[in-house]
């Protein structure tokens, strides 16, 4: 018995990808029906069905068959694309996903296939088929193809009939056929069972390339070239020009090849392993540097520098492999927005921006859920019903904008709606009810807005099936914090709400600035460092009570890390300030000394130390000691909060 399981695994993986693509294609089709997308949908369904029959997903294949059939009819122009049809195929697509999860034919799939929702789907499909008004026929443009075909010499002996293949080809459109008989030998050495002829055909047809290739399916040992002649679609076939154009035809296909063919699918576990090893390499290299510094041997020094350069290059290359365009999750949201707005009777236009921004795969994977939560919230609570919008002078169609961009070492993702904005009073009332704040608390609007991220908070008057279960937004904050990121919310009554997530570019290795505070070393992420300046202890000493620094024309609050980290003050006269920018604000961190730059492999703090405030993780230095990584965002928040407090007191 042959073990098919690797092939089945590959099939399931491939099918998931196809289903993702299918969803996109269907949504495109809804917006703008064109023959190529119809073709793509049909092909996807066809591939899924074909593979299903081979790999033990026969029940699924049977189910898909109905939808493939429908799209075959669309393709041939006798069925129109209707919202009904798209709707039912989208739903069916979700069921196909579910069937894949069942892992092939078995009681689970059987139960699913005979379940009421699936039977209802097929009825719904029937209805969609009946009501389809044939739309403007999807006529593909005719194109001119040049086909040159020289069968293998043994073709005739092996039962191939080249003449029949040419007839089949000619039947696809209008053709001019030229036969090349140059290789036919003189009669005395002629062997009737050998194939000597070659054919050249100029074919004008609306059929796709695949139909042309299908003619020659069994002629895989023949010399065959099929290429499209561009810009001559409606012109008359000119078989003799074939020789003039080979350069064009060679140049055209590779572009497609680059995107699809030259990539390799790798499991993310393998990537994680490479990254782990790389982390160890970076630490080993730091130790090497340390030893080299203590030995003072020029030959070793040169080598260490070379190794450092190579490791940095390897690090960047490895991290870039793990980077994926955020478009990959943005794509999913089109469906969420479409389904939800339909369910709630709202009209919403989704805009995306910066989809090509790249982000670490691990971050991306964990981000998808929180983003869906936020989008649901915007649609459910933010954007009003069309009539409400019209009444308040807004366009009936709401706008939801998803954007992503990179800023220093961070990725900023924002979700912006033009809805009614957060209701500060409702939030205050709810927060008091929940005991999150007391009635006397004087809280700024910005702080009130942040309360929506508090655990168990929900302002929806009724719990809808869409959101409003009150588990959404605090889960968002938890996930984002776990990724060393932060959330910011800005809302204007009647104008809309914008939630911005700030996330680190990568989770694994960063460039850090190594500093000394008291007896210990700490790492400050280099991406947030703006500059380093001298700190005048006399002027700004603890006794003076000053908390702001004058950096050129700006006042910047500062925190002495000796105080923040509860260390004993040293005796340095010349201390330094590292000016960092985090969460949009600048703050000075006073340190005893700056030790230098360092590649920091981030190790998360174990459960015992996870609750430590002010640290984003730890790393191992070249000398084997451990340094904590400063959580710059938290320190910045603290500095500004202290500043606010002082101002209020004064």
């Amino acid at each position: 018995m042959v073990d098919l399981s690797p092939a089945v695994t590959a099939y399931v993986q491939e099918s998931r990808d196809i289903l993702e693509g299918l969803e996109e294609a269907l949504l495109d089709l809804e917006k703008r029906p064109d023959p190529e997308t119809v073709d793509a949908v049909f092909r996807s369904l066809h591939t899924l069905k074909g593979g299903g029959a081979m790999f033990g997903f026969r029940l699924m294949a049977g189910f898909i068959h109905h939808f493939e059939d429908a799209f075959d009819r669309v393709r041939s122009g006798d069925l129109a694309i209707s919202p009904k049809l798209i709707n039912v195929v989208l739903k069916a697509r979700d069921q196909m996903m579910a069937m894949l999860d069942c892992g092939g034919d078995g009681p689970e799939t059987a139960a699913l296939v005979t379940s009421a929702p699936l039977v209802a789907l097929l009825t719904e499909l029937d209805a969609a088929l009946d009501n389809g008004v044939p739309l403007t026929p999807l006529v593909a443009p005719t194109r001119l193809w040049h086909i040159s075909f020289r069968p293998a010499a043994t073709a005739l002996q092996n039962g191939m009939r080249p003449d029949r293949l040419i007839e089949e080809l000619v039947a696809l459109g209008q053709a001019v056929v030229t036969i090349n008989a140059e290789d036919v030998p003189p009669l005395d050495s002629f062997d009737p069972s050998v194939s000597y002829l070659a054919w050249q055909v100029a074919l004008t047809t609306a059929q796709p390339r695949s139909a042309l290739e299908a003619v020659f399916i069994f002629a895989d040992d023949a010399d065959l070239d099929i290429h499209e002649v561009e810009g001559e679609a409606s012109g008359s076939p000119q078989p003799d020009q074939r020789e003039d154009k080979p350069t064009e035809t060679v140049a055209a296909p590779p572009q497609k090849h680059d995107t699809a063919g030259d990539s390799v699918r790798v499991s993310s576990a393998k990537l994680d392993e490479i990254l782990d090893q790389l982390g160890e390499l970076v630490i080993a290299q730091a130790r090497l540097r340390q030893i080299s510094n203590s030995i003072d041997e020029p030959a070793l020094e040169g080598l260490v520098e070379e190794v450092e350069r190579l490791v940095t290059g390897l690090r960047d290359a490895t991290l870039s492999v793990r980077m994926l365009p955020i478009e990959m999750v943005f794509g999913k949201f089109r469906r969420v927005v479409r389904d939800l707005s339909a369910e709630l009777g709202k009209e919403i236009e989704l805009e995306t921006q910066g989809g090509d921004t790249e982000i670490d795969k691990n971050v991306l994977d964990r981000l998808s859920e929180p983003l869906v939560h936020m989008i649901r919230n915007s649609i459910d609570h933010g954007i009003e019903l069309p009539q409400e919008r019209s009444a308040s002078g807004k366009p009936a169609k709401g706008r939801l904008r998803l954007s992503a961009r990179q800023e220093a070492g961070e990725i900023l993702i924002s979700i912006e709606d033009d809805g009614k904005g957060l209701d500060a009073e409702a939030i205050r009332k709810k927060a008091v009810d929940r005991g999150l704040i007391s009635t006397e608390d004087e809280i700024s609007t910005a702080e009130l807005h942040k309360l929506i991220f508090a655990p168990g908070f929900s302002t929806a008057a009724t719990v809808s099936s869409v959101s409003g279960r009150g588990v959404g937004m605090d889960a968002v904050l938890t996930t984002v914090s776990a990724l060393r990121g932060s959330v910011d919310v800005k809302s204007y009554p009647g104008q809309g709400t914008r939630v911005t997530l700030r996330l680190p570019l990568t989770l694994a290795i960063i460039d850090g600035l190594l500093v000394r505070v008291g007896a210990a070393s700490y790492v400050i992420p280099l991406a947030s460092v703006e500059e380093c300046v001298e700190f005048d202890s006399i002027e700004h000493g603890r006794e003076s009570g000053r908390t702001m620094l004058q950096i050129r024309e700006h006042l910047v609050p500062f925190i002495d890390l000796i105080d923040a980290f509860d260390d004993l003050p040293g005796h340095e006269q010349r201390r330094r300030v590292v000016i960092v920018k985090a969460e949009g604000v600048r703050v000075g961190l006073v340190v005893d000394d700056i030790l230098g730059q360092n590649q920091t492999v981030i190790k998360s703090l174990g459960p015992y130390h996870g609750g430590l405030e002010g640290f984003a993780g730890a790393t191992i230095l070249g000398n084997g000691s451990v340094a904590l990584i400063a959580d710059v965002g938290l320190l910045a928040r603290r500095a500004w909060a202290a500043q606010e407090h002082l101002r209020n007191a004064a």
Binding site: A53, M54, Q157, N158, G159, E168, S193, I217
Partner: protein
């Protein structure tokens, strides 16, 4: 006169399926249960197309194809082998032995008819 199709398969179920499908389309179908019987039929009849399974007792499909191509009655006769997606090397072997085309299992009546029409006319 109806064209004659020879189906060679040790599974009666497959021979029946091929027979039912092709007879329904107006072909004459004769059967053999292994490669050796197939050669005998090929020599006795004028065959328009052979549909042969690869995995059979007595004489397997690859050997049948080789022998058929050495036989004056077998040269030039289209031979379709029944293959599976997973055995690519076997398909190549069959092709090298002189098979004209192939049909991947599992196949349905439509696929069988399409290939038959394509190769036998």
């Amino acid at each position: 006169m109806a064209k004659t199709i020879l189906t060679i398969d040790d599974s009666k179920a497959i021979r029946d399926m091929v027979g039912l499908t092709l007879r329904g389309a107006g072909y004459r179908v004769i059967e053999a249960a292994n490669g050796a019987e197939g050669i005998t039929q090929l020599q006795a009849e004028t065959v328009a197309l052979v549909i042969v399974d690869l995995n059979m007792p007595v004489m397997n499909g690859i050997d049948f194809i080789r022998n058929a191509r050495r036989d004056p009655k077998g040269i030039g006769v289209p031979i379709v082998m029944l293959t599976t997606e997973t055995k690519a090397e076997l398909k190549a072997e069959g092709k090298a032995a002189g098979a004209t085309g192939w049909l991947n299992k599992p196949f349905d009546a439509d696929m069988l008819l399409a290939v038959t029409k394509k190769l036998a006319g």
